[in-house]
């Protein structure tokens, strides 16, 4: 034993914390009739014990616990599981309407949202008592449900929550139950992250918890609920999965009232719209209770119902107003008693983003014969809650060029002496004391209809759902063609003029001009952009240039990027630097060649561009004259690039897509801008410009290596997932694929400098380009099948087999795992399944040296120990054995000879 590592093992509370990740069944959903779920047939609890991973299984509930979140996620992806396939039950369709009555179906989801935003839930289970911390609704209901799940006393459950209950349930309740089960199983505190997988999946699976079918006469005088199917309240999934759910947990009178009011008031609104009648007038016609009529009238007066909403927000912003009324009889059932509520809401809908804001809310309440008439409630907290929970408005999305490590990775602090959880008054869906929320959902749905003409028959009204509904109802819009045309002509003239002025040289900015923060931000931009990879020659000084680039037009050399005034960029002003980065024009007015990917760098934000400039200027200056480019005529005429830029370069800065998530936009910004991933992964046309359309990211040959396709055309045998992309980009290797090699290795080394969430964002963006799922339980099965198919040696490849046995098998044959054995099976390596053998041959000739990526892979170079003939035999053997479904490669000998020549030159 190493005495040092022993001394370094402290035993604090923080170190007791473990991280849990749950694995949901491949199929599970709650429809209006029943909970459908795959059955867990087998789980190997010991499979990952060696890595310190604990597997917790209880009924169909499965989770893993590890010492880090990343380790737990990896373990969850690899855990061998077998599930049964549940019977496909045909969802019954109601009988077709035969009479003239109006019929409508409404749905209420089991989860209003999977979570406000990524967050953590921590559970600690000590001596039969449970302590929970996180964005959990601390209600008696959840307490009872957890008590049933853990078979413990509700009084021994302490919830340190901060989200209030009321409108509907959220995924944080599921996460709380998951964390509680895992913590009990391992006897330590466990943190569970509110990630979209599984909690967004949960929300989807529970989206059809209750269905109500209403029918009524055309004038709305008589209507009734024809069909009421499903569950009013949906307890945490862990209860369903473990089979510990009891009938009494499914009842919730408050939720039932909220849901019923939503359906009734939406239906009345539909009747009013069909009749062309004013919704308030129609309700006043129906409400027989004088106190209710008085309340509704008074609220309508306060809200100036008679003055219609003005729609002057332009085409992108529409406004609308809605009304809803409810009457909850008191327990005594007296006609005059009970709580009446009347709400009127004004909404503003952004038709581009789908975001909805409550611009005004007037809410009144009359507590009945023995309570006061309160025509005006304090609407501010109600409005906040509705916007947050029902409309799913994010607090404010971070800009795509935000480099700050997001706060959501921070764990909530344990509050050891937590105060007893706030008790909500039973019997009311309380938000603040005594406010009945029953009309809340209907009033927004009705206002949305008024604004957009779209009827939402199930909450929530999140931006994504509103946008989807609006897209279906596409409206033709007017465009101002003449103005765009004039702009285009000016742009054309500006770009066509081939001679650009030089920008006057300036003295290098003083070292203290930029703050340390700016320089650090610039360093991250430089790492994301891999500046040093191209601007450093093999074995040379960082950023000193001189690296050759073979192009079809001749050889180009990268230039000195250090702030040397004579040979570097020391006398470049920011204006000159920015022009070079965005337009491809050097300080002296010369056009730069697009081997320098200004076509991508144009998308870098202004702030990042400034920071990058600050960082580069703060580096040590080294003099090194630029190597002479060796381009053939006519490509050596730089001003030709003016025409090229006109045809192929769009200098527009990055514009976030408001219809996508903040994570997607962040990933897109890094990928398309500084990361310039397309520069390698998109094939180029005859003129050396990246192709568009289907060819975008479809893979290309760069510098003797193949950059594989980042689209659905990926040839990876096991298939990519967002999770495996993240692991590959973050660690340089993925179990289901292989290691980063060739020019991708320095890219991974650069990404290692970035905050984890940035790499995750890039993985998310790439996954959407590939149509790859977040994670895929079948991936490991598929991978195992591919590996199994490669066990047998192919016939007729004895020469190659001999080379493989001697030179490769010691590490690449997976019979006995040694420390040096290649951990990823060759059968899963995309390169062996590619149409070209280039990457395989490159790896054999030069080895795999992922410098800066610890443990990613170390393979010696065989350029000096294997002959061309041996390599050809070996490559054909590898193809036949590890990609048995693919056709043999052609002209391998020529490729080997060509690539060896390049190696000899280096």
């Amino acid at each position: 034993m190493n005495p040092i590592s022993d001394a370094q093992a402290p035993d604090t509370d923080k170190d007791a914390l473990r991280y849990g990740v749950v694995i949901r069944p491949p199929v599970y959903r709650l429809d209006a009739r029943a909970f459908v779920c795959s059955q867990l047939l087998h789980v190997d609890r010991e499979a990952l014990a060696e890595e310190g991973v604990t597997v917790v299984a209880d009924g169909n509930f499965v989770g893993v616990v590890a010492t880090s979140h990343e380790a737990a996620r990896r373990a969850a992806a690899r855990l061998p599981l077998r599930w049964s396939t549940p019977d496909r039950d045909a969802t019954a369709v109601g009988p077709a309407a035969t009479d003239a009555r109006l019929r409508r179906d409404y749905q209420w989801p089991g989860r209003l949202a999977w979570g406000a935003e990524p967050d953590w839930v921590i559970a600690d289970f000590i001596d039969g008592g449970l302590r929970l911390a996180g964005p959990v609704a601390s209600t008696e209901r959840l307490r009872g449900e957890l008590a049933c799940l853990l078979e413990s006393d509700p009084q021994r459950i302490h919830i340190d929550g901060d989200a209030e209950a009321g409108l509907g349930r959220q995924g944080s309740d599921d996460a709380a139950a998951d964390a509680a089960l895992l913590a009990r199983a391992i006897g330590r505190p466990v943190a569970v992250r509110l990630d979209p997988d599984p909690y967004a999946r949960d929300a989807e699976a529970l989206a059809r918890a209750r269905r109500l079918r209403v029918s009524g006469t055309a004038d709305g005088d008589d209507f009734r609920v024809d069909d009421d199917l499903g569950y009013v309240s949906v307890p945490p999934l862990a209860l369903w999965l473990t089979g510990r759910l009891t009938e009494n947990l499914l009842r919730d009178p408050d939720a039932a009232a909220l849901q019923f009011t939503f359906v009734q008031e939406s239906f009345l609104d539909e009747v009013a719209a069909a009749l062309g009648e004013d919704p308030v007038a129609l309700r006043l016609r129906h409400i027989k209770d004088p106190r209710g009529r008085q309340l509704l009238k008074s609220v309508a007066d306060q809200a100036a119902w008679d003055h219609p909403v003005e729609n002057d927000g332009g085409a992108d912003l529409v406004r609308g107003r809605g009304v809803a009324y409810s009457h909850r009889p008191s327990e005594s059932g007296d006609a005059g008693s009970g709580t009446r509520s009347a709400w009127i809401a004004d909404v503003e809908v952004n038709t581009v983003t789908g975001g909805v804001r409550l611009s005004r809310l007037v809410a009144g309440q009359d507590a009945g014969a023995d309570g006061p008439l309160r025509p005006l409630l304090d609407a501010t907290p109600l409005r906040d809650t509705l916007e947050r929970k029902l409309l799913g408005l994010p607090s404010s999305p971070p800009p795509a060029d935000d480099w700050a490590a997001p706060a959501d990775r921070k764990l909530p602090a344990w509050r050891p002496s937590s105060p007893p959880a706030r008790r909500d008054a039973p019997g009311t869906p309380a938000l603040s004391e005594g406010v009945d929320l029953s009309p809340a959902v209907a009033v927004v749905a009705n206002a949305l209809y008024d604004a957009t003409g779209v009827r939402f028959r199930s909450p929530p009204f999140s931006p994504a759902r509103v946008r989807a509904a609006l897209e279906e109802r596409a409206r033709p819009g007017k465009r101002r063609w003449w103005w765009a045309g004039a702009l285009a002509v000016t742009g054309l003239l500006a770009t066509l003029w081939p001679f650009r002025p030089s920008i006057a040289p300036v003295a290098r900015p003083a070292a203290n001009l930029y703050s340390a923060e700016t320089i650090e931000r610039g360093r991250l931009v430089a790492e994301a952009g891999d500046c040093a990879v191209c601007h450093t020659a093999e074995g040379g000084t960082v950023n000193l240039g001189g690296r050759p680039f073979e192009t079809p037009f001749g050889t180009l050399y990268s230039t000195n990027l250090t702030p040397d005034p004579d040979t570097g960029i020391g006398n470049w002003s920011f204006a000159a630097f920015e022009r070079a980065m965005r337009e491809g024009i050097g300080r002296d007015g010369r056009h730069l060649y697009p081997a320098f990917p200004y076509t991508d760098f144009a998308k870098i934000s202004d702030t990042d561009m400034q920071a990058l400039y600050a960082y580069l200027m703060a580096q040590p200056a080294v003099a090194a004259p630029a190597a002479q480019n060796e381009l053939r005529f006519p490509f050596n005429i730089r001003s030709m690039m003016a025409g090229w830029n006109l045809l192929f370069h769009d200098p527009a800065p990055f514009k976030p897509d408001p219809s996508r998530s903040a994570q997607w936009n962040r990933g897109a910004y890094l990928f398309e801008g500084a990361g310039h991933c397309g520069a390698c992964h998109t094939p180029r046309n005859l003129f050396g410009a990246e192709k568009g359309g289907d060819a975008r990211l479809s893979g290309a040959l760069v510098d003797g290596w193949e950059a594989p396709a980042l689209t659905a055309a990926s040839r990876s045998p096991a298939g990519w997932t967002e999770q495996s992309l993240f692991e590959y980009l973050r660690t340089g290797r993925s179990d289901a694929h292989g290691v980063a090699g060739g020019p991708m290795a320095p890219v991974v080394a650069g990404l290692a400098e970035l905050p984890e969430d940035d790499v995750r964002a890039i993985a998310h963006y790439v996954a959407t380009q590939m149509d790859a799922p977040l994670s895929d339980p079948a991936q490991s099965e598929r991978a195992a099948a591919v590996v199994a198919a490669s066990r047998a040696a192919p016939v007729g490849q004895e020469a190659g087999q001999r080379v493989f046995e001697g030179a490769c098998a010691a590490c690449h044959e997976n019979g006995t795992a040694t420390f040096t054995s290649a951990k990823q099976a060759l059968a899963l390596n995309t390169n062996l399944h590619s149409q070209r053998p280039d990457n395989v041959i490159q790896s054999i000739l030069g080895g795999v040296h992922a410098e800066g990526v610890a443990g990613a892979g170390e393979m010696p170079a065989f350029v000096h120990s294997l002959s061309d003939r041996q390599i050809v035999d070996l490559v054909q053997y590898l193809r036949a054995r590890f990609a048995p479904g693919e056709t043999p490669w052609k002209e391998v000998g020529k490729t080997v000879a060509d690539l060896r020549r390049e190696h000899d030159q280096q």
Binding site: E805, T816, E858, P860
Partner: protein, 177 residues
């Protein structure tokens, strides 16, 4: 030249100045004077350079020294406790499992790595573990007998069947060279 790297070899910590990509074998032999591991092919093919990293067999000629900072390295010198030999070494002496002896470091370290992972391996597992550790003298029978003795299996190499598995890959390779 970069900062000193800290390596834990045979329970002792050493500060080493070397380029990060230097193979571990060079540092062990040249800087730490541990000549148990041998230089054979330098390409991870023959196994003469075998050491244990965290108890698992590893070919030190292809391991960059920078990747081993947090790992425990054991060489042939560190196998016994100073007084007594490791049982694997005893078994090799008992069965006289050597000719020229150049490959013996690899054979012994490989068997030790196997026994660390699986204290009671089958004969097939022993054969598979030694499959890519090469001997050019043709001492396979003695080596296999020694390995089996160390594994607590009957060292039946001299009489009867060499192995239960079929034919060719049953003995450690080397004759193919």
């Amino acid at each position: 030249m970069s900062d000193a790297l800290h390596l834990t070899v045979n329970g002792e910590r050493h500060a080493v100045r070397a380029a990060p990509s230097t193979p571990l074998l060079y540092v062990l032999r040249n800087d730490l004077c541990l000549n148990g591991p041998k230089f054979g092919c330098g390409l991870g093919e023959c196994g003469a350079c075998m050491v244990l990293v965290d108890g698992r067999a590893a070919r030190s000629c292809v391991l960059p020294v920078s990747t081993l900072a947090d790992h425990e390295i054991t060489t042939l010198e560190g196998l016994g406790d100073g007084e007594r030999l490791d049982p694997v070494q005893d078994a090799f002496i008992e069965e006289q499992g050597a000719q020229c002896g150049y490959c013996l470091n690899g054979m012994i370290m490989t068997v030790r790595g196997l026994l660390n992972a699986d204290p009671a391996p089958t004969r097939e597992a022993v054969v598979a573990a030694l499959d890519h550790t090469l001997c050019r003298c043709g001492t396979h029978q003695e080596i296999l007998a020694a390995a089996c003795r160390a594994a607590g299996l009957a060292p039946s190499a001299h009489e009867g069947e060499p192995s239960a598995t079929q034919g060719e890959p049953s003995a450690p390779k080397g004759e193919k060279e």
